[in-house]
């Protein structure tokens, strides 16, 4: 190891955060560096509807679509859903909807369909819309895209601590493993690549049935999912992820009956703010608007 290289150690975290909990890491102004957007608060909409699942646990497409509409309308401070979407996209835009296909917990198809519907209503041509995950590098719509909509479910993740909106863009690089170092801390760099930078207009973190703990090679057990029945919607991916992460952390603490830090710590959320200027991770820099069902909110 290069003796001259500046190393960030556990002691740096202890100095500024007093303890190495995920809570401190998620909001940490790493090494005194300041987010490019720290001066302005990020608006985050958290919407929950208990009825999004029926008594048999089936997803209600209508309720889900209404949740999306209500959240986007509130986010854009618009009179209605279509006008809100018209603030996000224009008819000439080419829109890539970046989904997630992890088969245990994929982006729900009805949500994908609701996004398609609103994009079309906002005037975007059908042939200029595509939803994709693992094929985005060879997808002609994504290659020509002027706008990206980022939508994925929140879950714990073996290497990055959390599968987040920030991490969802890892498929924009040909060798994702290159970003696995130090708990995927450098994921924010992907958002600065020329074919990605500045295109993301909306981030939707799906919190319908988040996975708050993973076990084994497959990192999945339905025992560690719960019907939170929510969506987190924001223009700022860091703020949305940080909000979701706080909910996941709170759920872990409740479920395990003790503080159970997300492991490994999702360093990439704070780093996306402090190193890459992608948004705000600290709670005091987030304007959280809560809509809908309030029981067991966890935040």
């Amino acid at each position: 190891m290069d003796a001259g290289k500046k190393v960030i150690t556990r002691r740096d975290f202890i100095r500024v955060g007093s303890c190495l909990t995920v809570g401190s890491l998620m909001g940490l102004p790493l090494m005194g560096r300041v987010s490019a957007r720290e001066s302005e608060k990020s608006r985050v909409i958290l919407i929950r509807e208990k009825e999004v699942f029926d008594s048999r646990g089936q997803l209600s497409e209508t309720v889900l679509e209404n949740m999306l509409d209500e959240a986007v309308t509130a986010l854009m401070d618009a009179p209605g859903a279509v006008s809100a979407w018209k603030q996000l996209v224009k008819p000439t835009d080419i829109v890539g909807i970046k989904t997630n296909v992890w088969f245990h917990l994929p982006t729900p198809k009805p949500l994908e369909a609701a996004i398609w519907k609103r994009l079309l209503e906002a005037g975007v041509k059908k042939e200029n819309i595509s939803a994709d995950d693992r094929g985005i590098l060879g997808n002609s719509v994504f290659e020509r895209s002027t706008v990206l909509i980022n939508v994925r479910p929140m879950r714990t993740h073996h290497w990055s601590g959390l599968g987040t909106l920030l991490k969802n863009y890892i498929m924009f690089v040909p060798h994702p493993w290159m970003y696995h170092g130090n708990a995927c801390e450098k994921l924010g760099a992907i958002w600065q690549l020329p074919h990605v930078r500045g295109k993301t207009r909306l981030n939707i973190l799906v919190m319908l049935t988040p996975l708050f703990h993973g076990v084994g090679p497959h990192h999945f057990s339905s025992s560690y999912m719960w019907p939170y029945s929510g969506l987190i919607v924001s223009r700022d991916p860091v703020a949305a992820d940080a909000t979701g992460a706080r909910i996941i952390q709170a759920k872990r603490n409740v479920f395990f009956g003790t503080e159970k830090p997300i492991s490994p710590p999702p360093l990439h959320i704070a780093a996306a703010s402090s190193q890459f200027g992608l948004g705000n991770s600290r709670a005091d820099q987030i304007q959280l608007v809560q809509l809908g069902w309030e029981e067991d909110l966890l935040i």
Binding site: M1, A3, K5, V7, I8, T9, R10, R11, F13, I14, R15, S18, C19, L20, W102, H104, H157, H158, W159, S160, W177, H180, G181, N182, A183, E185, V215, G216, P217, H218, H219, F220, S221, S222, S223, Y224, S263, P264, P265
Partner: protein, 303 residues
Amino acid sequence: MKKVLLIFLILQTLGYSPLMMMQKSHADEIEGLSAVLPSQIGVWTAVPKDRIYDTDTIFSYIDGAGEVYRAYNMRSCLSRRYSSPNSPIIVLDIFDMGTSEDAFGVFTHDQDGSPVDVGQGGLYRPGWLSFWKGKYFVSIYVEEETAPAKKAMGELAKVVASLIKDQGSKPEILLHLPQEGLQSRSIRYLHHHALLNYHFYLADGNILNLDQHTDAVLAVYQRSGERAHLLLVFYPNVDKAAEAHKTLLLHYLPEAKSTGAVLLEDGKWSATGLKNKFLTVVLEADSRPLAEDLLREVLQNLS
């Protein structure tokens, strides 16, 4: 040496490489195991056909988690699925880790759960049973836990364990750990910096120069209501151990040169010592005496 070279050239001429032969040998062993695995467990029937993954293809199967198994020198993985109408699928994965030390190591990566008497150590958490035996790490997983599935997982584990004939030894480095207050379920045996950070975040850079050729054990101690994390690393040679110690002091414990034990910013204590090829670090102890006692005891054990 000439003889080895001659054999190598002959093998190359015949179209074999030693590396290819080793890989084939591991594949043969796991295929042999596949041939004797049960085709039926309770009402669950094996779904044709088994899949075998190597260090490259494992990512297509278990995504990024594959790196954990690679970090423990995984050779191959056999996967079999058992299905039954109206029941969740049971997934059996058998990892050939090459050595029993690494099979034990990957088992210690996740020590949550309730102990299960299977193989040389087993654990059960909701939906997942894991155990190690010999050079194999075995994972039995069900997406949605039901009582019959849990029972079938237990039965399958016993059968698989009985089919693995050889017992294996745990890593020798464990013998150097002081026994008083050692929390056995906290032991993590590992080689890689990323895995150390997974369990105990130390630094973004690899300040201990951990790699495939280093053996490390991380453990928690509880003594008289006080707690400490201890890390012991064995390097391939004295120079590498000394270099790692130097880097640790430079980046993490610069005060240790003058003060010995170091008071950290959160009121906990750290201490480090070097002996031959071993580097010991008490990472965080609740008190100075605990940090110094643990360090002294490890260094004595290394004598």
